[in-house]
């Protein structure tokens, strides 16, 4: 194999990362690679790559990826967001904001929602220390506290998670008294576990290493333009689908028949395929199992082997050289090779990390150009291990340190051998970190052949190197971040020339860019759709370009199990210079300037939009209505007020006592009193449910029918008497925002922009999240002819006794409205406005 005859100058320094005093000679400019030195490089490699440098561009044919298959039947939960983890208060005295996990809030949520579990035993224990009525009793042996006073002090006001909450003297005393029993047992036991759990979930949010390598694979079919996509889907990602796809001449994929699937017992984390000597194998990694199948074109996949990994598998790779060989890494630091002849064989075992100590148990392994040498990687480096040599030794291929001019805190996220099965082998390895990608040649360890700062805003856990569009062209390297961002790098240089970037890297549209192709929905659905499109990307695959169809078809798999595709064409202007053309005279080469701003933006075709609408329809049919969460209302002060008014103090006290004995949390309903004064604000998420349903019906023109049905359900007589009044109120509401609808500014503003803006700040200081916003956004998208329907419908809206939403603060409006539909439900609430319900499950 040829080795580049002249390497690019680079300084070599050993040392820890971030400590380099020397300059980083890889300048981090993509144009650096385009530079040539007179006489420093062989002629042949120069003129080829420089011709690309200017105008190499893969042009997407639609502004964003399109859904390939209809959404799966299982619902998808977007999971936890940063808001659910982090302490929202600012840190006044700290310059740099740091991560503070909000255990307190989660814990207090738990105490609210599951008070019976949290307090029952404690309540029983402390029964004799409390007096439920009258003043505090005196006893020499035990301290007795009066509940009444205590509740008065508590006053129901405890800001969520606020460590600086003010305390009264009595409360202080009580907490000292109750502390040993209450806070220690609950907070320490729960808090520690909770903190641990939150920390792992938070780390998962920052980077979900389980999906390293990606769970989407393209199996080439008999012709160049047909193949099979293999990916997991279903709510738990435990169904492995085999979807036949054929690509037509226009570059659009066609999905053939219903996909076959295999039901597995665990979530699929990684899917790899390899075709060696005409035999195609498919390997799948789950959390604790790995499995290999043999894929035959005619027959269903035949399972070859299932392996159990006790400590948890972190990586799997199939040999590009020998059919059936696969490497598996475990969290314990062991790397095993499985071969059909010899079975399982441990080739490397070291619980410690390679270059320096790092707590992560993540391990990775891949093959190299030598079939008996494997790379073994962890967060700190990558080592080449000869499986026939003495165990444990080998050369470091990559080291997170000064050798590669790594930054502080830089870690290896993915290491991939770029060789393809077959004789056209290379000895290049791709190393991805949070900051950069490195191309390493296994013949020159530790010195990167190429370094590029990718600047992706999420973890680059997916990478695919594709064959060139046509011979002589650079090879596209796709780099995918977990957040859905995709970058395409043009890698040129093979054999005697150095691998280099041919032209500046480009970014490709992400799935969220497709939002504009979907028809506008009402806000809640829109948000649902947006959340679905924003799901982390866990798989990246491509139908490689070939001579007959130089287009590139890119597939992305989201964590919701959706597959999206994007067609890319190589831009016409970038053509190969004639091979016999003399090396370009530099000043002259500038004359052939590329067209102004190559990135012409494509637009949505009607076919693409239709495809999206169909997909969306299927999604909306499936999506279930979220269970309505009842806001807890619990106000001690109010409750005490009622208590005082109660004539039969006895019964109340008995009830209290009974509740305490049973360890129940007291609810207003338990005492037979319902709070009448100012109901607590309800959470945002529940406000829309009935409203949504109503609006949907109205949109479909069935508002009247719905309303009638609704009326039948509720006892209508009382409401009916109020209706005329309501109508007048509503029309005034309506008139207040018709100005929005007619204002050309508002309607011309892109709605999606608005929506995302409104969501960018989860708790805007002005709190506009309810009706006003909903209506405004909605109204913007409403067509003229629909407006009358809207007006008619609005007139029928069964809002009641609020004196006009314009005057009321929005948050109150919404809460009132929800309350009116939920009067029967016993509700508990903190007096603080609850936001989105944290989705931590208990």
């Amino acid at each position: 194999m040829d080795f580049p005859s002249t390497l690019r100058p680079s300084l070599f320094m050993a040392g820890p990362l971030g400590m380099t005093d020397g300059p980083d000679l890889s300048f981090m400019c993509s144009w650096r690679d385009a530079l040539t030195l007179p006489g420093a490089q062989p002629q042949n490699c120069r003129d080829q790559t420089s011709s690309f440098a200017k105008n190499l561009l893969w042009e997407p044919s639609t502004p964003g990826p399109l859904p390939l298959v209809p959404p799966g039947p299982d619902p998808w939960d977007p999971g936890l967001a940063a808001q659910d983890f982090l302490f929202r208060g600012g840190h006044y005295y700290q310059y740099q904001s740091r991560v503070v996990l909000d255990v307190t809030e989660q814990l207090s949520r738990f105490l609210w929602d599951h008070g019976d579990i949290a307090f029952a035993p404690l309540g029983k224990l402390m029964l004799e220390n409390f007096r439920l009525e009258g003043n505090r009793g005196y006893s020499k042996k035990v301290t007795i506290v009066s509940v009444k006073r205590l509740l008065q002090d508590l006053g129901g006001h405890q800001p969520w998670g606020c460590p600086w909450a003010s305390l009264s003297r009595r409360l202080r005393r009580f907490s000292i008294l109750g502390g040993p029993v209450l806070s220690r047992s609950v907070s320490l036991l729960m808090g520690r576990l909770l903190h641990e759990e939150l920390a792992t979930r938070w780390e998962q949010l920052l980077m979900d290493e389980a999906f390293t390598g990606g769970a989407l694979a393209w199996l080439p079919g008999r012709t160049a333009r047909a193949g099979q996509l293999v990916y997991p889907s279903g709510g738990a990602l435990d169904k492995l689908y085999f979807q036949e796809v054929s690509v037509n001449s226009g570059g659009n994929p066609r999905v053939l028949e219903d996909p076959g699937h295999i039901q597995l017992r665990g979530p699929v984390r990684q899917v790899v395929t390899s075709t060696v000597q005409g035999e195609t194998l498919l390997a799948v990694r789950s959390d604790y199992h790995c499995a290999v199948w043999k894929i035959d074109k005619q027959e269903p996949p035949a399972p070859l082997q299932v392996l159990q990994v006790e400590k948890g598998a972190t990586g799997i790779s199939l040999s590009p050289h020998l059919s059936g060989e696969l490497a598996i890494c475990s969290r314990s630091g062991t790397v095993c090779l499985w071969t059909p002849q010899d079975g399982l064989q441990t080739i490397y075992k070291d619980p410690e990390t390679l270059a320096f100590r790092d707590p992560s148990p993540w391990r990775w392994a891949d093959f190299t150009a030598h079939p008996r040498v494997l790379t073994v990687g962890d967060r700190t480096g990558v080592k080449m291990v000869d499986i026939q040599g003495p165990p444990g030794c080998g050369l470091l291929l990559f080291c997170a340190g000064a050798e590669a001019a790594c930054q502080k805190g830089e870690r290896v996220l993915l290491a991939q051998y770029l060789g393809q099965p077959g004789p056209a082998s290379t000895s290049l390895h791709l190393i991805c970190t949070q900051f950069s990608i490195y191309l390493m040649d296994e013949r020159l360890p530790l010195v990167p052949m190429l370094k590029w700062d990718h600047g992706l805003p999420s973890a680059p856990l997916l990478a695919r190197l594709l064959p060139p569009a046509s011979p002589g062209y650079p090879r596209p390297l796709l780099l995918g971040g977990q957040g859905g961002q995709v970058q395409l790098l043009h890698i040129a240089g093979e054999g005697t020339s150095i691998p280099q970037l041919a032209g500046p890297p480009q970014s490709l549209p992400s799935i969220t860019d497709s939002l504009s192709a979907f028809p506008l929905l009402e806000p809640k659905r829109q948000q649902q759709l947006q959340e679905r499109l924003e799901a982390p990307v866990i798989g990246l695959a491509a139908a490689p370009p070939c001579a007959s169809a130089p287009g590139l078809l890119l597939f992305q798999l989201s964590a919701a199990g959706d597959v999206f595709y994007q067609h890319l064409r190589i831009q016409q202007t970038s053509s190969l210079r004639e091979p016999d053309h003399p090396a370009p005279e530099r000043p002259a080469s500038r004359a052939a300037a590329p067209p102004v701003d190559q990135g012409s933006t494509p637009s949505w075709t009607s076919r693409a939009s239709a495809r999206c609408s169909r997909w969306l329809e299927a999604l909306m049919e499936l999506s279930p209505t979220n269970p309505v969460w009842a806001a807890p209302t619990f106000s001690h002060r109010r409750f005490l007020g009622h208590m005082e008014r109660q004539k039969s103090q006895e019964t109340l006290a008995q009830k209290l006592q009974a509740a305490m004995a049973k360890g129940q949390l007291l609810r207003p309903g338990d005492l037979g009193t319902l709070p009448k004064a100012e109901p607590p604000p309800a959470p945002q998420c529940s406000q829309q449910d009935e409203l949504t349903e109503r609006l949907t019906k109205a949109w479909e023109g069935q508002a009247a029918a719905w309303w009638k049905r609704h009326q039948d359900q509720t006892s209508g007589s009382q409401r009916q008497s109020k209706r005329p009044k309501r109508r007048t109120q509503l029309s005034s509401t309506f008139s207040s925002f018709t100005s929005y609808m007619d204002s050309p500014d508002a309607s011309s503003a892109p709605h999606s922009q608005d929506l995302s803006n409104s969501e960018a700040c989860p708790q805007p200081p002005r709190t506009p999240p309810s009706q006003e916003l909903t209506q405004e956004l909605w109204a913007q998208g409403v067509q003229h002819e629909r407006r009358q329907t809207l007006r008619d419908y609005m007139a029928k809206l069964p809002l009641q006794d609020n004196p006009g939403p314009v005057a009321t603060p929005p948050s109150q409006t919404s809460s009132r409205q929800t309350r009116s539909f939920r009067q029967q439900t016993p509700v508990l609430s903190g007096s603080h406005p609850p936001r989105k319900k944290p989705r931590m499950g208990f």
Binding site: G22, L25, M28, G90, G191, P371, G409, F435, Q506, Q598
Partner: protein
């Protein structure tokens, strides 16, 4: 009570958090996207100023435009982004020039309306904003000019940079200055080799010849001082070493060149660069060094890169050697070349192996073959001699298939599928060869007759 929990937990969390955060910067993994998450959530506390917000938004737009190859749009954003130079935050202010240079140079490199003058004036301006980048920018500017064939301008630029000093000389400055000097040396070498070309066309008795050669001599001494200091620093300096050695050789300083190359190849502080050994070997070959010397150089290259294309040359050297040890190594070298997936179709290697296997077995060194075969027995058959390869090799390159079939026959016996497949083929020109092959396999195979693998 609740707040007591809070206190307790904040303490608890704090206790676990604090060492983490202090360690965070040192040993923990760093997430560049962490800040974004925090900013999306934390509402109170110290907020970023409007200025910082707009600048960072502008930066992200700028980067996006660059990644979409919208150079004109990027240039517009850059125009606005320059405000960051007036940031009151010292850290950002310091980091700004580097970012501006990095992105700005990229825009100007690709922008359709940009030209060398624009780029140069931008570079000159950037050099003096944030003095710390002076050397880096000068160097890149010079490389840019070189790329556009403006050697004199580049040379002037490098000369200016060479004499530049700022404050205390840091290690990074020192290396950069060395690098600047080395590039200057490279430029001088370039003009020197141009003159050498002209000189070779002139007559030796010509007056112009002496003048020119004197001129060259002075240039070479400059070059040597320029390049020499850099290539003592650990690193990969292929272009510099190559041109420096060329000069030294031209002026007959063989010892100097040898010392330089030996140092470049064998210094432990340097990365194990295969080219260093290749250069040394090529130099020694030109010098007509003894075979033992050549073998010793290639032996080390063999240890670093067993798949190197020079290994076939190494084999021929070893084959001709008198010592038995070398001849044994000659066999191992061939086997190791063919271990690599990139070399499986290398017909020369297969030819050599077929020939050498036969020779070795004829010299009754069967144990050498068996030793090499031992570690490959369980994977070479599937890797090289599968039925799939038999078919596809025959289709693609019948000659290669024949060589491979012979090796397969020797190593696996005549029952081997690859061998049998090729044997069955009917081919006009190769008929004789295949027949001969069958005979030799029968005679020399290391597999006991009757035992099939």
């Amino acid at each position: 009570m609740m707040s007591d929990f809070s206190e307790e937990l904040t303490k608890l969390a704090g206790a676990e958090d604090n060492p983490e955060t202090s360690e965070f910067s040192k040993t923990r993994m760093h997430f560049p996207w962490l800040q974004k998450h925090i900013e999306a959530v934390v509402t109170g506390g110290k907020k970023r100023k409007d200025f910082a917000q707009t600048t960072s938004a502008c930066l992200s737009f700028l980067q996006e435009a660059l990644l979409k190859h919208q150079w004109c749009r990027a240039a517009e954003y850059m125009h606005s982004y320059l405000q960051t130079l007036e940031d009151s935050d010292t850290y950002r202010k310091q980091a700004a020039p580097e970012i501006i240079w990095k992105l700005g140079s990229e825009i100007l490199f690709y922008h359709p309306k940009s030209n060398v003058e624009t780029f140069s004036s931008f570079a000159d301006r950037m050099k003096n904003i944030g003095v710390l980048n002076y050397l880096k920018i000068s160097l890149q500017h010079a490389l840019y000019l070189l790329h556009h064939g403006m050697l004199e301008d580049a040379n002037r630029n490098l000369s200016e940079a060479e004499t530049w000093r700022y404050g205390e000389k840091s290690a990074s400055q020192e290396v950069l200055i060395k690098l600047v000097q080395a590039y200057k040396g490279l430029l001088q070498h370039y003009s020197w080799s141009k003159k050498k070309m002209e000189l070779s066309e002139l007559d030796e008795d010509d007056y112009a010849y002496t003048a020119k050669s004197r001129n060259m001599l002075s240039q070479s001494s400059k070059t040597s001082t320029n390049i020499c200091t850099l290539i003592k620093t650990p690193g990969v300096w292929d272009p510099f070493v190559k041109s420096y050695v060329e000069m030294l050789e031209f002026y007959g300083d063989q010892d100097g060149a040898r010392e330089l190359l030996t140092n470049y190849a064998y210094d432990e502080k340097f990365p194990s660069n295969p080219n260093a050994h290749v250069y040394l070997y090529e130099f020694l070959k030109r010098e007509k060094a003894p075979r033992a010397k050549l073998i010793s150089v290639l032996k080390i290259l063999h240890e670093i890169v067993p798949s190197h294309s020079l290994m076939l040359e190494f084999h021929t050297l070893l084959r001709k050697s008198e010592t038995e040890e070398h001849r044994k190594l000659g066999l191992a070298v061939l086997f190791e070349v063919l271990d690599f997936s990139g070399c499986t179709k290398n017909i020369t290697a297969w030819k050599y192996l077929a020939k050498y296997l036969k020779q070795t077995l004829m010299e009754s060194h069967r144990e050498w073959v068996e030793e090499e075969w031992k570690s490959r027995r369980n994977w070479w058959p599937a890797f090289h001699f599968s039925f799939f390869w038999a078919k596809s090799d025959w289709k693609a390159d019948a000659e290669l298939a024949c060589e491979k079939a012979f090796v397969a026959g020797i190593l696996l016996g005549k029952g081997c599928r690859y061998f049998r497949y090729i044997l069955k083929q009917d081919h006009e020109t190769l008929k004789k060869k295949i027949k001969r092959m069958k005979k030799s396999v029968k005679k020399y195979t290391i597999v006991n007759p009757g035992v099939h693998t």
